[in-house]
Amino acid sequence: MKLLTHNLLCSNVRGLRPGGGFPLRIQASDVSVRPVPFNAAFVARLVPRLRWGALLEAAESLPPEPAPDYEGDEAFLRRVHHVLLEVRGGGTPKPPFGGGLTPPKPPLGGGV
């Protein structure tokens, strides 16, 4: 899974406090890099959607805050592109939250 997907994902299990489903834990078994064609406009459009804090937890090489004029900064966009779209962890995709999607079973009634 790419870090872009990780940054967009959030648990939708019912009963979480607001904002409690994000970010999901990262368990990357093997990390591979596959080149993806760079598109500055697309990456620049992605940056405002990202939660930068969660991205920093996964990739320490990034600056602590995107610069205010990041749209023209190609070196920065290339770094973000590499982190978001080229690095991928794990071989087979796994469900985002292990078994957390199924609702818990109700407890047995008193008569049983």
Binding site: M1, K2, L4, T5, L8, L9, C10, S11, N12, P18, G19, F22, R34, V36, N39, A41, F42, R45, L46, P48, R49, R51, W52, G53, L85, R88, G91, T92, P93, K94, P95, P96, F97, L101
Partner: protein, 280 residues
Amino acid sequence: MAGSGRRPEHRGPPELFYDEAEARKYTQNSRVVEIQAQMSERAVELLGLPQDRPCLLLDVGCGSGLSGDYISEEGHYWIGMDISPAMLDVAVEREVEGDLLLADMGDGIPFRPGMFDGCISISAVQWLCNADKKSQSPPKRLYRFFSTLYTALARGSRAVLQLYPENSEQLELITAQAMRAGFTGGMVVDYPNSTKLCLFQTRAELAKFAFQGLGTECADGEEMHQAKFTNERTRFRNAKGKSVKKSRDWILEKKERRRRQGKEVRADTKYTGRKRRPRF
């Protein structure tokens, strides 16, 4: 093997039906590949994406990534989700461009609000009309799918869902749940006369009013907007159905109902449904 056997939905749950053999067959069959490419083309056309800039799309029920190939060709980026691990394995083998996620769409779309510029789904949504476990309720799963999809889409974006409904009731159910979740728009029937290849396309266009304020996302503002959005929808639902419990209207309705049943009911007065004074 229950049911007619002609429709894959009758043979079993999708994660079991699309096993390794079926996944391979699906991806190698040139007829299936061609149909999938055609339908993806039509779906992306209906999405009405801007020509000049690449968008981030969600592919629900992406399978082995056949529909995603077309999206990549068009220069857009996509994230796909599917319930069948075997199909996703094939997609990984084929080294598709998009990212893949193993998830059940009936459990909802697990993404933050306003993240996608559009959503396509090729021949997947009809699977939600079947209950494979006792605990599953198709209307509930459909509603959860549509409502979470609605939140995951950005303001003004569209979802194009191509599906093979078994009958008109299924189509009605799907449309009703989509409307309930806030989608507007309708259905495009591409091949009305063909019985073998019935292509129904539901095109759902997001109503613009619901996402006001979500245009430029900031890290902290989002949750607030999302909460507000949910509240409004609940109110809408209440207004549509029965009146609020314990309200005067509710009491009057209930009395009227009992009267019709021929039971003895006190007359409606100005005191009906009024609160008692604190020291009654």
